[in-house]
């Protein structure tokens, strides 16, 4: 009571201390910030500033300030007195969405007075809108929607912005109740890309979604096709044709479709394969439908390229396929009733109506035919499902077909037995007993069973045979026994098999089998097998069958042979490869290289070519003494086609010389310098050379081919150290001459004959032509050079000075290997050559002749 009085006094005091109403409402201070919006989980500081006037009046300062949130005093630890008039409070990790914060002072030590109050709103800044997508419903304006992100607890505005490259559209503001979508207020413009994005904004921030840029035509949801109709075809009972009208969007874009259908009473839709309806159309024929069946259809469409959205489904439309002839005969039965007329009986034929899926149309009537034994056919047309007829006591065959608009069904056949029919059942004979239920509306499904009056053992056993015989197993097979010999129900089979010396083994096999595999057999063994079939009354053996298991299993031989063959093949291959790799070694040891004389060549060099002392570094590779004597003899043939007899003679001489110098220094060319009978060009290395070649039969050949396919103009004699016998052409110079003649007749070139010799080259390579060799011989020592000159001077003594000079040139040049392809010059023969040759017969060296003169040696 006292407390109450105190409060009343305080209140009155306050009331009376205020001078006016305005002053009464005037706050004693204020809080900053005034209306804060704080992010949830963040810190917040508010400052309360007292007015001086109030402070003086109440005798308070900032120290007297205390804070309350939602009427609860905030602990003083959170206060901070900034100065005499201001005090702040700090809240960490704001979690409440809505806080009432008041700044209070305690006046007179006991009266709490509220100075100012604010409301703190908490929330979250907007998240970036995601999944922005737009749709253009045909005939309507574009609508975009997005995922706004988390709840912000604040009022958040979403603005859909859109623009072209050249134009900006008005913002689309969302409605408060649907903040996740917005429909623009302008018509969509197809085929112009538009850029769209969303801005989300609240008191805590503004955020923009990703921009999307698209052609509105790619976001179209067309209106569904309309006026869908279904029509059938009289020609084909399995098709229905749909037609519809496309929406007006078709004038802008091409469409594709989904067509679904179902039978009237079905609930599940079937769909036409989409690839069949992937292009713009206004009709489609659905195939493989059942005849005379009602189908329901619906269609939808979308942009052909799949961009955009499917339209809604069209209104459903239905149609019935055309009739087809009944696919099955109606099942029917008969009832026989006694007739009043003697010799006749009343037979009622009854049948079932076909179900729609078999009738394939409306059944118009039924056609019944009756055939009596050896009598003619009688046809009756019946509209009902039963028909009564008086028949004689004979046996009849009745047929029934159902007919619709298209055609008739297959016929159902029924035998009506004769009146006095009685069966004589025999033992061990199989009977098929069929029972057909007859209901009021016709017969039901018949059931059949096989039966024997009495069983007996089979009259014949099954014949067994092998289907496949392996090393350790055999597959046996047999045929089911014919019904006539079964004499009962075959319960099982027994297979007996044995070897000649072994015990018989029996295996029981179920009667349903016609095949059995005997396993664990011994290989390469003769087996005897027989089989018995058993009824309930006993069994009967079949004939015996023999077979022999093979020694090897299938593929066993191949498994052995193939690897062996492969190994052999591999070995052979490796051997061949080895031989191929080591062919030089093998060739060296087994058959050394035998030169082919026919491939011998001799180089040509020209007396016109001045000797070149080409002592280059390359030439130095030849050691001293490798090249000692060189003589060159040229035989020039006359220009006429006929060979000179002197030439032939000289060739004979060569031949003779070859024989005479055999074992010493053989060969035509070789003898020119190596034989003692040829002092003119003999050299000091003669003997040495002879020794080097003593093991071989050296001979010369006459090369009658041009260098590198050039037309030969000269006949070249070359020395060879081959041990190979001379070829015919070489041994018969006549032939050679003939060839030469032929050549000369072809080419009207001046004919020359070179006879060149390299007597002392140690590393003999007999089949290398002189020309080639001369190229190889690249260095000659001074001694050789002097000796060569000496030889030349010897020759020149018997020749004209001019000719000698020429010869010198040739000899020296050749000796130093200066001849190259392009440097070979030809000497022309002169007419006097023949005479000179004759004079030279002893040395048998043809003479080198220069144009305009001939120098005999």
């Amino acid at each position: 009571m006292l407390t109450l009085k105190t409060w009343i006094v305080q209140a009155l005091f306050i009331f009376f201390t205020t001078e006016s109403v305005g002053e009464l409402l005037e706050p004693c201070g204020h809080i900053k910030p005034e209306s804060p919006v704080v992010q949830l989980g963040s810190n917040f500081t508010a400052v309360c500033v007292l007015k001086e006037k109030c402070m003086d009046y109440f005798h308070v300062n900032a120290n007297y300030i205390f804070w309350k949130t939602n009427h609860v005093t905030v602990p003083k630890e959170q206060y901070t007195v900034i100065n005499r008039t201001a005090s702040s409070v700090t809240f960490t990790d704001i979690s409440l969405l809505n806080i009432q914060l008041t700044c209070n002072i305690r006046t007179f030590g006991q009266i709490d007075q509220n100075v100012y109050g604010i409301r703190i709103i908490s929330g979250l800044p907007p998240e970036k809108p995601k999944n922005l997508s737009c749709i253009v419903n045909e005939g309507k304006k574009m609508m975009c929607q997005w995922d706004p992100g988390r709840e912000t607890y604040l009022e958040t505005n979403f603005t859909l912005k859109s623009e072209w490259a050249t134009e900006k559209f008005a913002d689309c503001k969302t409605k408060r109740d649907i903040p996740t979508s917005c429909t623009v207020d302008y018509s969509p413009v197809y085929f112009v890309n538009i850029e769209v994005w969303v801005e989300a904004e609240n008191a805590l921030g503004k955020v923009t979604s990703d921009h999307i840029n698209f052609d509105p035509v790619d976001k179209v949801k067309p209106n569904p096709p309309h006026n869908l109709s279904v029509s059938n075809s009289e020609e084909l009972s399995s098709i229905l044709k749909l037609t519809w009208i496309n929406s007006s969007i078709q004038s802008f874009i091409r469409l594709k479709y989904n067509i679904q259908y179902r039978t009237r009473d079905a609930s599940i839709w079937s769909q036409i394969p989409p690839e069949d309806t992937a292009s713009s159309r206004t009709s489609f024929t659905v195939q493989d439908l059942k005849p005379f069946t009602e189908y329901v259809f619906r269609v939808r469409c979308m942009k052909e390229d799949g961009k955009g959205f499917w339209s809604d489904w069209s209104e459903e439309a239905s149609g019935i396929t055309y009739e087809d002839r009944p696919s099955k005969a109606p099942s029917f039965w008969y009832k026989i009733e006694p007739s009043h007329t003697h010799g006749y009986r009343s037979v009622q034929l009854i049948w079932k109506t076909l179900p729609p899926f078999e009738a394939n149309g409306k059944i118009l009537d039924y056609e019944v035919t009756l055939i009596r034994w050896k009598s003619r056919l009688q046809n009756y047309t019946v509209n009902d499902t039963k028909w009564t007829v008086n028949l004689t006591n004979d046996r009849y065959i009745a047929t029934l077909t159902a007919r619709n608009l298209v055609g008739k069904s297959d016929a159902a056949v029924l035998t009506i037995p004769a009146y006095n029919f009685q069966g004589n059942l025999a033992e061990s004979k199989c009977y098929l007993i069929t029972v057909t239920p007859v209901y009021t509306d016709g017969p039901g499904s018949p059931e059949s069973i096989k039966a024997y009056l009495k069983q007996a053992p089979p009259s014949k056993g099954p014949t067994v045979r092998t289907k496949k015989v392996g090393k350790n197993e055999a597959v046996l097979e047999w045929d089911q026994l014919p019904v006539d010999v079964q004499n009962g129900f075959i319960r099982n089979y027994t297979i007996f098999y044995r070897t000649i010396i072994g015990n018989e083994t029996a295996v029981n096999v179920d009667s349903s089998h016609t095949e059995y595999t005997l396993s664990s057999l011994t290989s390469d063994t003769l087996y005897m097998v027989r089989m018995a079939a058993y009824t309930d009354e006993g069994g009967k053996d079949g004939p015996e069958f023999t077979f022999t298991t093979p020694k090897f299993a299938q593929g066993e031989i191949e498994a052995i042979v193939v690897p062996v063959c492969l190994a052999f093949l591999l070995t052979t291959l490796l051997g061949v490869l080895f031989c191929f790799n080591k062919r030089d070694l093998i060739k060296k040891h087994i058959w050394p290289n035998v030169p082919d004389p026919s491939k011998s060549h001799i180089a040509q060099w020209s007396p016109h070519t001045p000797p070149r002392h080409n002592f280059n570094s390359k030439d130095q590779i030849y050691s001293d003494g490798n090249f000692t004597d060189v003589s060159v003899v040229e035989i020039e043939a006359a220009n006429d086609k006929k060979p000179f007899p002197e030439d032939l003679k000289s060739l004979d001489l060569f031949k003779k010389e070859k024989i005479s110098t055999e074992g010493h220094s053989s060969g035509i060319g070789g003898s020119s310098c190596m034989s003692s009978s040829r002092p003119s060009i003999s050299s000091s290395d003669e003997n040495e050379s002879a020794q080097n070649t003593s093991g071989t039969v050296q001979y010369s050949t006459v090369v009658h081919s041009g260098y590198r396919h050039q037309v030969p103009s000269v006949q070249v004699f070359s020395r060879s150290e081959s041990t190979q016998p001379l070829l015919d052409s070489e041994e018969r110079p006549e032939d050679l001459q003939l060839v030469d003649n032929t050549d000369s007749s072809v080419g009207n070139l001046p004919r020359q004959q070179y006879f060149k010799q390299n007597c002392s080259q140690r590393e003999t390579s007999p089949d290398i032509s002189h020309f080639e060799r001369s190229k190889q011989v690249s260095s000659v020592n001074e001694e050789d050079f002097v000796r060569l000159k000496q030889q030349i001077s010897d020759i020149s003594q018997s020749c004209g000075s001019g000719q000698m000079k020429m010869f010198q040139e040739i000899s020296v040049a050749d000796a130093f290997g200066l001849h190259t392809e392009g440097q070979v010059e030809r000497f022309e023969t002169v007419g006097t050559e023949a005479a000179v040759d004759e004079g030279m017969s002893k040395s048998y060296l043809p003479q080198t002749v220069r144009r305009g003169g001939y120098m005999p040696q």
Partner: protein, 238 residues
């Protein structure tokens, strides 16, 4: 040669100024083929008289026998197909842009005679389509290479002349509007054909050259990135 250069410079200046007036907006489609396809399709559906002429005739009551015959294009109002085909691509785009600007202006005039909101909506859609077309022209101009293809002087044609002098007679005014729209649809048909020729020449050039599109080292390479705004620069270099 000098005159030609001067002419090109002037053309570039005109087009540059034309598009300078356009504020920097969203990005253009940077695929030449796609953009050309869009232009073709736009021209295809804008040539249909159902877009403008037919409703206009119906609205203005000109769908009477004997009146339709008078609704024929007035020669010289729109460039002929022949003229359009002879223009270089840049010139063609410029003419197209200018002509469509005039069409827009004329449609605003025609709008005054349309009272029904439903009809106005149709007209507004048509205008928006034309603005969209102009947008694509702008984008195409940025994709084209800087060189003028045709160097020989070509008559630029009159273009769609600005709205004629006001006609006091209401009927004549309607008839003029009808003729104008008739010419507009014919013009768009020709435009579609020219764009189709562009497509054909592109496929031909592709057969002969592996170079993709017509971008020829121009600044604009990837316009899809949204920051590629229309820069204030000469529309046609050179």
């Amino acid at each position: 040669m000098r005159a030609q250069l001067m002419r090109r410079t002037l053309l570039s200046l005109v087009l540059g100024l034309l598009f300078l007036s356009t504020p920097a907006m969203g990005s253009c489609l940077d695929n030449y083929q796609e953009l050309l396809g869009q232009l073709q399709k736009q021209a295809d559906f804008m040539q249909h008289t159902s877009m403008l002429l037919d409703p206009y005739i119906s609205i203005q009551g000109l769908d009477k026998d004997g009146l339709k015959e008078h609704c024929q294009e007035r020669p010289g109002v729109f460039p002929s197909k022949d003229v359009l085909q002879r223009l270089s691509r840049q010139e063609f785009l410029q003419i197209l842009n200018t002509t469509l600007g005039h069409v827009l202006h004329r449609l605003r005039t025609l709008q005054k005679d349309i009272l029904k909101a439903q009809d106005l909506e149709k007209l507004n859609i048509a205008k928006l389509n034309i603005r969209g077309f102009k947008n694509n022209i702008h984008c195409m101009a940025q994709l084209l290479p800087g060189s003028l293809e045709k160097t020989e002087p070509t008559p630029t044609g009159p273009g769609a002349s600005p709205s004629p002098t006001p006609i006091s007679d209401a009927f004549q005014r309607r008839l003029e509007g009808c003729r104008f729209l008739h010419g507009y649809h014919r013009f768009m048909h020709s435009v579609g054909q020219v764009f189709r020729e562009w497509g054909q020449s592109l496929s031909r050039s592709r057969r002969h050259s592996p170079r993709r599109g017509l971008r020829k080292g121009k600044h604009r390479t990837h316009l899809s990135s949204r920051n590629k705004r229309l820069m204030p620069r000469g529309w046609l270099p050179r």
